[in-house]
């Protein structure tokens, strides 16, 4: 099955007063139709930048150094994607509260989305015909019921500040699925939620994604969440995609040293706590070659000098490392 989203050799830098932050370094990354792809990594690893690059909403001072982004037959980088956004690719934010305008009701804001992005809208349509408005309204009510929100009609009349965190995130999921997108980009959607609410949202997202056969790119810094909901997982480190694998393989037989050490420092492991010595490199002065080499026990001269190509030591298991043996056998 052809890869449905194919990011190749993508480099992104942010031009600032004190130099350019090279946040993404020749990242290649792909997703298959209908799967939930995890994009994990610690803060500052570039996962949010990658997600926003796909969405086409990088800030003005962003500079795309290299790379192509094939999606549904077109190169996202080459064209203005505002017609795709909200239609074929939709977005679920981390902070549901801030993503609503406080001055309009929930109904107004969902209505606004449907006006421009409803699957029934003809491209270039100017007038919002009453018939389409009614059909969209029915869709909205169905979608809200689908995300287990009782009394949808009354909810539409409420203002965002009258909803709880969990309710708002459910509305966000409904809004992301209403345009019947091919790809949903969820940027840390459960990070701001309590653990019992997070569990409900993950369960809901998993069910809806499979029912609608929509692919989901799910970014998170919490490896537990990735284990819960993702089919495949990619871990990022300092702007490089260190390792990608099926979720079982990824957690059981990690091959990239960073993945291994990261998993080892998880509190759930019970063993004595071991952090990862050293600090994450600054994007302004990234180390040459593999960016993990200053902290890597396996680092050799090769890692320090040459660009780390992605190898596939096992089927479907990609590791961007010169020594991709299974961890911890160093």
């Amino acid at each position: 099955m052809a890869d449905f989203l194919d990011v190749r050799d993508l480099s992104v830098g942010f031009v600032t007063e004190n130099g350019t932050a090279r946040v993404l370094d020749h990242v290649s990354f792909s997703m298959r139709q209908g799967e939930i792809m995890g994009l994990v990594g610690e803060s500052g690893c570039g996962k949010t930048t990658l997600a926003r690059a796909i969405l086409g909403v990088l800030p003005d001072n962003a500079e795309i150094g290299s790379g192509t982004m094939g999606f549904d037959g077109a190169d996202l980088l080459a064209r203005d994607t505002s017609d795709l956004r909200g239609r074929l690719i939709t977005f679920i934010p981390q902070d549901p509260f801030g993503s609503f305008s406080p001055l309009f009701t929930v109904g107004d804001q969902i209505g606004e989305l449907m006006r421009w992005k409803s699957p029934e809208r003809m491209p270039g349509e100017r007038r919002y015909a009453a018939s389409r408005r009614r059909a969209d309204h029915a869709r909205v009510l169905a979608a809200l019921r689908d995300v287990q929100l009782p009394d949808a009609e009354r909810l539409l009349r409420k203002y965002p500040h009258e909803l709880s965190g969990g309710q708002r995130q459910r509305v966000m999921i409904a809004m992301a699925l209403l345009p019947e997108p091919k790809l949903v980009i969820a940027d840390e959607p459960t990070t701001a939620l309590d653990v019992t609410i997070q569990a409900q949202i993950l369960k809901l997202l998993r069910r809806l994604a499979s029912e609608r056969n929509a692919s989901v790119l799910f970014t998170t810094h919490d490896l537990g969440t990735a284990w819960e909901i993702c089919d495949r997982v990619t871990v990022m480190y300092a702007g490089q995609e260190a390792e990608t694998a099926e979720v079982g393989d990824f957690f059981a037989r990690p091959r990239h040293p960073y993945t291994g050490m990261l998993l080892a420092s998880l509190p759930t492991q019970g063993a004595a706590l071991r952090g990862i010595p050293g600090d994450v490199p600054s994007p302004f002065t990234p180390p040459p070659g593999c960016r993990f080499h200053p902290r890597c026990p396996r680092a050799t001269e090769l890692c320090r000098q040459t660009h780390n190509e992605t190898a596939e030591p096992a089927p479907g298991h990609h590791v961007r490392c010169h020594h991709p043996q299974v961890w911890p056998a160093s």
Binding site: S164, A199, Q200, I229, F251, P267
Partner: protein, 325 residues
């Protein structure tokens, strides 16, 4: 001998209507009782709105309690005037989620560390500086940091200075409010190790408030689970994680992802969201979401009961619940 005994602690915030008249109470702490033994690490867990931070701040004297007793090292400190309370609370320090944020950005680090000694002791200057340097070394920072401003050092180093400031008065009990939340996994491990070292070196007792159950499981010896302003279960970490007695604790633990283990997307059952602390249900506060609730739960708010294995639980049917996870 327990260093801290809390009994029936209440803290209510008034709810005012548009006319400014009080129409009800936000019962953030609704009768909390527990004790902490010397040298122990007690974990206090629960979701947002359960009152765990309010509990920490009320014990530390930042909030004045609406009722109940707090005995710290033998002295009753809940009902004292702020100034009298402050003297007795010298040995009890409260550590904010980001200890670095408790530093005045316009003060040099040395001065921030010296302040507690100036306020509480009449140590001469030389002795103060000597203790400042010793404590700074204890948290693993070089002496030259004394002349720097907080924004001139990294977030991690600021966190260490914040901890050093708390240790200046050589407290015996430190209340840690969510010290690891928002931190990346690798940084979390570094912070927890530092806390353990400091506990060793300064013979500290910790009250560890957190919503992250996997960290609490690793770090604490005993755990108190809070829901809507009350402690619903207290027990040793092994017992609570092995066989949770209270239905809420059970749901809470079943919501924690276990890498390599069962997936909550298949097993998790709890529905709905906790009611607001301003409108706590009658009887048992968890009954609106508990699958075992019956008429008795609706009528009577269960008192704290001690089970056979010494565990404390606030549920009428704790023993009879079948052990299904």
């Amino acid at each position: 001998m327990s260093i801290l005994e809390v009994s029936g602690l209440h803290r209510h915030f008034p709810i005012r209507n548009i006319w400014g008249r009080r129409t009800g109470w936000l019962r953030a702490l609704d009768g909390v009782s527990f004790g902490i033994a010397k040298g122990e690490i007690l974990g206090v867990v629960g979701e947002s709105g359960c009152g765990k931070s309010t509990l920490g701040k009320t014990i530390a004297g930042i909030h004045t309690p609406s009722g109940g007793r707090v005995d710290f090292e033998g002295n009753e400190i809940a009902t004292l005037t702020p100034s009298a309370g402050r003297a007795l609370r010298r040995n009890l320090q409260y550590c904010y989620q980001d200890p670095g944020a408790s530093l005045d950005p316009r003060w040099k680090i040395g001065r921030s560390l010296e302040e507690p000694l100036i306020v509480h002791t009449d140590m001469p200057k030389a002795e103060r500086m000597e203790r400042v340097q010793a404590t700074l070394r204890a948290v693993g920072l070089p002496e030259r940091h004394l002349d720097l401003y907080p924004h001139e050092i990294s977030g991690g180093q600021q966190r260490r200075v914040g901890l050093a400031r708390i240790l200046m008065l050589r407290p015996s009990l430190v209340i840690l409010d969510e010290p690891t939340s928002g931190l990346d996994v690798s940084v979390q491990a570094v912070v927890l190790n530092l806390l353990l070292e400091l506990r060793q070196e300064f013979d500290l007792t910790y009250m560890f408030i957190s919503h992250d159950l996997s960290v609490v499981r690793l770090f604490c010896q005993r755990i108190a689970v809070m829901y809507l302003g009350r402690v619903v279960e207290i027990g040793t970490t092994e017992d609570v994680f092995a066989a949770p007695a209270h239905p809420y604790t059970r749901s809470l633990l079943s919501a924690v992802p276990i890498i390599g283990g069962r997936r909550i997307v298949d097993t998790f059952a709890l529905e709905g969201e906790p009611p607001s602390p301003g409108a706590i249900p009658s009887g048992c506060r968890f009954r609106t979401r508990c699958s075992f609730a019956d008429a008795k739960c609706a009528a009577e708010d269960p008192a704290d009961r001690v089970l056979a294995d010494g565990r404390l639980v606030a549920c009428h049917y704790a023993e009879k619940l079948e052990t299904s996870a």
